[in-house]
Amino acid sequence: MTSIDISPATLAEAMRLALLRADPSLSRFDPLPRILSYDDFSRGHCGWSQLIGNYENDLDSMLPGYAQHSSAMLSTLGHWDAGSHGGMDSSYALKIATRARPGAQNVAIKRHTFRKRGPIRFELYFTFKPEAKELKLSELDVRSVGFLLDLQCGDKDEGERVMPHLRFLNAVDGKHLQKWQYKRETTTFSSVGNDDKTVSHYHLAPEGWLDLPGGDQRLCYNEIPTKVNWTYLRFDFDLESMTASRLQCNDRIFDLSDFDSIRIPAMKNLWCMLNFCLFAETDVANRAFLYVDSICISGDY
């Protein structure tokens, strides 16, 4: 009998992976050692609420981009022609629905803070579809779906507020573009109200999106609006250097060497902020739906 010399760290990692892969819920993810949250939406909204805009004294002071947002839903992906589609291993998925107006957007957000500046990983299974109002493929109805992180350094750090944005631009004006884009600039900050305490900026404005080099991708849209397939997405980001290290969508891993985030001066009430947003945008007068089966947020700390 031979003995194998294995370090405690190697053994611990092997045990961690064995436990993850034997767990039917987590096995489809590749989380970093610490799981911050796992959302499968069969236990409610799991902290994904609507992104509300800032206001002061009067709701009329909210920027229009935020005013259109509404609460996300728990959906069985119920379709008029085939009934409930369901999620990957439960009946439910999170549903983010736009209004039926060209350019309409909706955003869901999960708000954390971090306790160590190190690597984090955002993984999810998603799909998108337009409302199946017409007996047509309707593959050009959804303009985009995407995600962003809203991050700020700790209060004793020299740092910034950093907002990595990525979207899958599906179609614009009837053109099927199917590519990943990112954003480096937000809109001008506006003062909200008259107490000089609150400002706002609409970072999801249509301007300023840049093509991610090599970021074209054709996804599994399927053949009618009510057939749905789940797509894997992973985004890795380092809170220490505030840089992105990996974007993966299904079998494609994208080069992020040209990627950068929106970077703005640190704000007075947002220290250690670790927010995650998911959004949908329609290109036509038909609702766009972003469905999310499950999300795993993890970190190495």
Partner: protein, 111 residues
Amino acid sequence: MLPENVTAVLARNERWSGDAASEPYEAGWAREAVFFVRAIKQPVGSIPMAWVEISPDGMHWVGEGTEFRMPSERDAIAVARLSGFGGWLRVKARFDDGAECTVLVTLHLKA
């Protein structure tokens, strides 16, 4: 495990006039629902009735049977309590010419 419940805001600071309705909301997981409609500005003109609609698919709507009068003054709240509503919910109202109400529509769902 405690039963799920959620408060969803379906319309916030929306100025309703003419034919107005909240966005469709999927609520098939819930056994009971309460709509709250609050006027967040002083309503203008005649105060119409509103009603609850249900749907098999979120696209085709039919009256659920519950009706209520829209709030008649700022910060007044109208309420509709529901059960047995299937998968989708919305509220709808029809305003006379010149009438309007700026609303906050909240849906409280409970498993």
